[in-house]
Structures are given as C-alpha cells and as structure tokens.
Symmetry: C2
Subunit: 410 residues, 2 copies
Amino acid sequence: MMERVPGATVGVVGGGQLGRMFAEAASPLGVDVVALDPTPDCPAVPPAADQIVADFDDRAAVRDLAERADVLTYEIELADPDALESVAADFDVEVHPTPDTLRTIQDKLVQNRALADAGVPVPDFEAVDGSDDLRAAFDSLGTPLMLKRRTGGYDGRGNAPVASVEAAREEFGDLDGFVAEELVDFERELSVIAVRGDGETATFPVAENVHKAEVLRESVVPARTSESVREQAAAVAEKVLGALDGRGVFGVELFERVSSRDTDGASGDSREREVLVNEIAPRPHNSGHYTIEGCYTSQFEQYARAVLGLPLGDTTLRAPTVMANVLAEPDAETRPAELDGVPGILDEPRLAFHWYGKREVRALRKLGHVTVVGDDRDDLLDRARDARDALFFREGTETASEPAGHSTQS
Amino acid sequence: MMERVPGATVGVVGGGQLGRMFAEAASPLGVDVVALDPTPDCPAVPPAADQIVADFDDRAAVRDLAERADVLTYEIELADPDALESVAADFDVEVHPTPDTLRTIQDKLVQNRALADAGVPVPDFEAVDGSDDLRAAFDSLGTPLMLKRRTGGYDGRGNAPVASVEAAREEFGDLDGFVAEELVDFERELSVIAVRGDGETATFPVAENVHKAEVLRESVVPARTSESVREQAAAVAEKVLGALDGRGVFGVELFERVSSRDTDGASGDSREREVLVNEIAPRPHNSGHYTIEGCYTSQFEQYARAVLGLPLGDTTLRAPTVMANVLAEPDAETRPAELDGVPGILDEPRLAFHWYGKREVRALRKLGHVTVVGDDRDDLLDRARDARDALFFREGTETASEPAGHSTQS
C-alpha cells in the first residue's frame, strides 16, 4: 500500500542518530516522523515532528505511536516485535520490515539459518548451548572460532574470538544461547545497503569498512576491491532481501576472503575472492551514512520511500566518498558531550559534518561523522581521518544530565 | 564572533519554507533553529527545534527569541529592524545581516541608492511621490517604465510597468512612496546567491530564472548564457556584498541585456552583454534552492555557517541542475493543501521533491519544488517541468484551517 505523500507520518521505534537522519531526510518529502524512545530529547527530536518518551517495549506507547502513524518501523534492534505485531493488528497499521524479520535478525542463530536456507553464503556456524557444544564446534569449525551471543549484542559487544572453552567462560561467564562461527580470515570488510520497496529492490554501491575494536571507523566507497567482488557483494545483498520480509533498508555486512574454491595456487590479486554475510541490520546502517552526500538518494530518504511504499530513488554514486565516524575515546569517562574543533574542519572542501545531538560522551560511543566527497579514495580517506582526528571532546566538569541506561545502536 | 558548533541556536524571524529548509540544513551541524512566526505550526516547525508564535514585530517575542538564541537572523523582509536592533543591544546578541541592511532592502529606493553608491550597476531610477514626479520620470527614464512601491512588495506584487500617470493611478491608486525604474529590455533573468561570512565571501553558480506573472517558475544552472556574462554576474554579486552589512546569504536578482555600450552594430550572440541588479533579498532565495542537490554546500547550510561566523562551505556546482517551483494555480481558491501525484514522479532518476508543509493552497502560492540533477540543461528543464506539471492540488471540500493574513515570501 502506498501512503499519502506529502502528508504521511512514520512512527519509528528508536530515536537515535538513525532516527535523526531519517527525520532530516523525511522532512523535504513532507513526511513527519514520530519517534518512540526512552531518552527525553533523544537525538531524533530536533528534526522529528514529535517524540513519545517510553521504553521500546512499552505497549501503551507503541499503541500511541500506531494511532499517530500511517506506517510503523524501527531503527533499533531492541524494538519489540511482539508489541509491534499486536499493535499493528489492532490498528490496521503495517510494520516494515515485518516483526518476523526483526525476530529473525534479533537472534543470530536464527539469522544465520534463515540466510543459509535462502542460499546466502555465510560462515560455517553451529549452535552452542554449553561446553559440549562448544567443544564440538572447535572440532567442526576450527580453533579459534568466533563466539556470539545469539541476542543482544551490537558493535562487537557480545562477540569474541575464543580458542578454548575456558577462554569462552572467562569472556562470557555462561555458555548458553550462543552461535559459534568459523573465524573468517578476511581481506576486507564490505557492506551493501539493500532496500526493498513495494515490489522492487535496490542496492547502494559497495562500501569498504575499516573497523577497530569491532567498531566501524571509516567507510570508503566504492570499496577498493575488484569489480567482480563488488558485483558479488551486490548479488549477495539482493539474495539477502529474499530471506527477509517487509519493506525497508537493510545493512548487509560482508567479509571478502580468498575463495576456498581457489586451489590452483594463484596468489595476490589474481586469487579468486568470495563474499560471506557477517550480519544483517534491518534498518539504515552506519556504513551507509556516506550515501547522504555520495548518492543521488540517501539511505534515509530511501528508508522513507521504502516503508511508505513509494518508488525507490536512484542509488547511483555521484562521486567517490569516504565517511569517518566521530567516536568517543575507548576509555572515555561519561560526561556531557561538548565537541571542539568543528569550525576548524568546516573549510575543508567538500566536507560535510553530521552531529547526532547526543548529550553524553561514553566510551566508544558514536556521536557524529564526517564525509568527504571527491576523487581519489586513498586521499579522501586521509582527509576524512585528518578532519575527524582534529575533533576532540572537552574534558567534563559537570555531572551528566542524560538518564543512564539507554544505548543506541547503528 | 564564531559561535559554538555543535550546540548553537539560531533564532530566525520567519518560519516559512526558507526557515524550514534552513532547519533541515542546520540539523546535521548540530545547530538548533527557533523560528518566530505568527502562523501556528508554520512550515519550519517539523524540522525546527521550536517555534515562538507571534507577529514578526512583537517585541516581547523577539526578546524571547534573543534569550534563546546565540545569533538572530530573519528569513523574511517583513522582520522588524527596529525590534531586532533594540533587542540585540539589550541581550548582546548579534543580528545577521544587520538591521540596517534589512532597512536598506525594505525600501527599494534606498536599496537602489545604496547599490548605485557602491558602484553596482542598477537600472536608471527616480523617486516618485506624486504625479509630477512620475511625469518627470517618463521623460528621464522613457515610456513605459517600471513603477515599484518602495516598501511591502514581493513576488511582483507592488510592481507594475506603466505607460501613463492615469495607468499608474489605476494600478496603484495613490502615487506616493514609489520608485520608477527604466524598463529593462532584458534577454534573460539571472541570479546569484552571494554569501558573506566572517571576513570571507562566496558566490554560488549563476542561475538562469524563468518567471511568469512575475513569479519564479524555474531556475536553470549554470545559466544558459556566455561564460563572460556569468563572470560579470558573479562580480556584480560580490560588489553587492560591499553595499550591505552583516553576515548572511543574499539573493541577487539580475537582468542580462545587450550592453548600451554596444554600438558597433553586432547582432545575436556576438553582442556585448551587461548585467544589472534588479533586486536583493537579504536571505536565502528561491533561485538558490537548486543548491541543495546541485552544490557541495547548500545555500541553507551556508546560511547557518555565515550567521554563526563559521567558515563558508564549498559552493562548487556538482552537476547541471534545474529547479521547478510547485505553485498553486493563479486562480486557485484558498483551500487545504493536498498535493496529488508525488509518488508518480519519485521514480524519475535524480529527482528530488521538497514540500514546504503549508496547510493552505492560495493563488500562486509557493508550496514546494522539484529539482533534477544531470547533464543537458534543456533536457533537465523539460524533465523538471514535466514532473512539476504532473502534480496537482486536490479540489477543496473542507474549510481552510490556517489563520488568514499570513504570507510568506521567497
């Protein structure tokens, strides 16, 4: 069903930076965004039409959201699929992507199985509930392996490579409710933002992602890999859409590695490459922020178009683009977020700065990003990093004002 | 003075479409916009942080705005320079552009004199207060001439070509407080968005503007004229900045005509051209909306940068761009604004749609625009017009809900 534009309202569970950039992109279309988020004055609030302050799984609040919205969506995996499903039925409002897709993605074991069943290449994996399962997994998947909590992890939290049952116990405490995956010896991490609209799909150009401490630092677009790998990545992302229900924007994180089929002894760039899906996000993704300046349609405008059943926009890349995250230090003390240095980077040509409006610095928290558009990707990466590295958070003197306990993903 | 970014608040008098697009562009910078506007839920409201509902010249409201803002500006010429000036002094808040600049621009005679004094080429003009002045003006400026009310006109209202005192009386009633200008036999209407920041200036690429019934319909960028004319236009726009005080974004409307110096009998494209300033707007301008998709920095982000004293952004054109206004019909009855046809144009490649969130259709009111980015300007103009012409406002059945008497300019 196509919603009325201009004039539609999207109710979104979650009001972090994704909700904020969504609201910024929805406004020109005449689409109002109402965000449900427990943090008063959450990042989405200035550009969004309104906020409902409530926990993500507060059914009364989700009802309130449904009453005000033409369609419901979520920009955070902590959204409650049961609440969305029951409220959607009561109010005859569609939820996109579907609550079932959210359930699938919330459980990494279920996610892997759904992807594998759809013919999507994923790392070999095994369910782990207890030490016997883990021992068996070392036998079948190799040592070390990647152990992931099935639910609740993000930005690398809840994931760790482990080489023994003892190490796993030390890292996680218990060993129930995990999925073990082969540890992929990848050459690059890639991602594709894949979109399903009303009877059509689209993919954005392939990003190459640089992680540190399992947190995304930079995305380089187009990915500095072969055309063949980029084509594979796009094809895999399209296949991922086949495993998931509902309209929306999906972040498809990929590993690029030398193919296990490549047994002819070639080396270097001539070796055959394959891509495997690492994880799926059922929402716009940090590695797609480059699309705001880099593509004719941003992932956030595309999100609005998709959930409202409108025609999808043109995902063509306008020019090579690099995005660098503005993160708090790994050892940052929680304090009010006051960023210095921004005026000094704003005279960099073709640079855009994005602030998320978060009140507090917390260790490794994502608080903004910079994007540079241009030609040479290595040069763009240097410039984006230099600009980002010229920014710093003031040391705190006051006590923090934001309620504790709310984290946003991306 | 450079304001703190992220974290600054701009108080803007006026909350029409310019305030809305300003708020959309300010949000990524972490800049909050508070708009003062008499219309509840004015167009700026969804993306802006807040609105003060009050008349533009309500001093208590302007005080309230000043208390909440790090800098004051205005997106409408109906702002009150006296109120801004006195409040700014009381609260030690800067106003950009200065209230004096607003005064200069509010009075077309004063504006013409200030431009002429600064060496800016303007049409020949005379003050007209009464029929004797007008008769003298016909002698000195020729017949017909362009008669403009010194204050209060916009979008062609308050301006008319007249060929006799009788015709002028019929058009305007009285003849006091006018400026008469030579009727310029122009080949094209051009415009340049000129920007003054903190000790630096910038100009955007020259737009070619198509008007009908004195209302802008389309802008084509770069203007389809000679490189030499575009250079002249940019130089004149820079000179205009010299006649005005304060930081900000200025819409410089220009006429291109065959030069009066060209007496050698050349014809067609080989004739020497000159540009004359028609009018100045002390704010972002309708003919600069193309910059949102067309340039690395939009006029609205530039506006935020300028008034906050931040470095100006890169005004380079990314690709040829055409903008077409979505206007109500000339004979439109006032009714709720419900636009049909938008989904049907959203699959046009490289097209962007902008809705202003106005509640009511009124005759020739600007309610949105479409922008198409690409290569061939003639083709882009066709496509932008076709897309715009596919949109139509529903016939009204309900009574209008928006308070009467508020008009927004651009």
